[in-house]
């Protein structure tokens, strides 16, 4: 009742695709918003609370807002994807932290020098200081989990949208 059944609507295929794309975009933009758009209001509220709580705990506990590092391209890229899964909330938080939406480790810090891996740039130093905090491992787990949960929510919205799931 009150649900927006994208799959069963009589509208054109193009219109259905647009609804589905909008639902998925909303799901990324705000945790739970895609479910809300499809009429799953109670579930949307729960998902919003869980993902936001996980993200806030992660940010507060010095979680690692990962950047792509040339020394470990695959792993660091996957970390960035996990972070970005949370949506604009992550981009805004990252901008506050690093002074901009920075997703790549500056080249000066990507190159191993004779001094070892000591960071030379503000981003590198900030990342190092957060990593060295006692609660950083917990924070990182919360932060990445928030992003990964939200990515699952986008897939769930897609499944609901095409009628594969209630």
């Amino acid at each position: 009742m009150g649900s927006r059944d994208v799959a069963g609507s009589p509208a054109s295929t193009e219109g259905r695709h647009r609804h589905l794309a909008l639902a998925c975009a909303l799901a990324w933009a705000l945790p739970g918003a895609g479910h809300w758009y499809l009429g799953k209001r109670a579930r949307a509220g729960v998902f919003f609370c869980l993902v936001t709580l996980s993200f806030v705990l992660g940010a507060a506990l010095h979680g690692r807002f990962s950047v792509r590092d040339r020394r470990a391209p695959l792993l660091s890229t996957l970390q960035v994807v996990a972070c970005l899964g949370t949506g604009p909330l992550e981009i805004v938080s990252r901008s506050f932290l690093y002074g901009g939406p920075i997703y790549f480790l500056p080249e000066e810090d990507s190159i191993l020098t004779s001094e070892g891996r000591r960071p030379n740039t503000p981003v590198g130093r900030l990342l190092r200081s957060r990593n060295e905090a006692r609660d950083s491992a917990y924070g990182t787990a919360y932060l990445w989990t928030a992003g990964l949960m939200n990515l699952l929510l986008i897939l769930d919205v897609f499944d609901i949208g095409i009628g594969r799931k209630d």
């Binding site: 579930r43 729960v46 998902f47 869980l50 705990l57 917990y138 949960m149 769930d156 209630d166």
Partner: protein
């Protein structure tokens, strides 16, 4: 907040509730799955910690 157990508890609750709501529609089934998932995460983590206890940290 550096209590490992407290973080484990909060993390388990968040993840178990998430998957319970993601994969089940009936309240009873959600409770059941949430309790199984949360309990499993707690129990298995503590069991693993107990098994690893004799090993040196570094």
């Amino acid at each position: 907040m550096t209590s490992h157990f407290l973080n484990l508890l909060i993390f388990s609750i968040i993840v178990a509730t998430f998957f319970a709501f993601l994969t089940r529609n009936e309240p009873r089934a959600r409770w059941r799955l949430g309790l199984i998932l949360g309990g499993s995460m707690l129990f298995l983590s503590l069991a693993l910690a107990w098994i690893m206890y004799p090993f040196p940290v570094r």
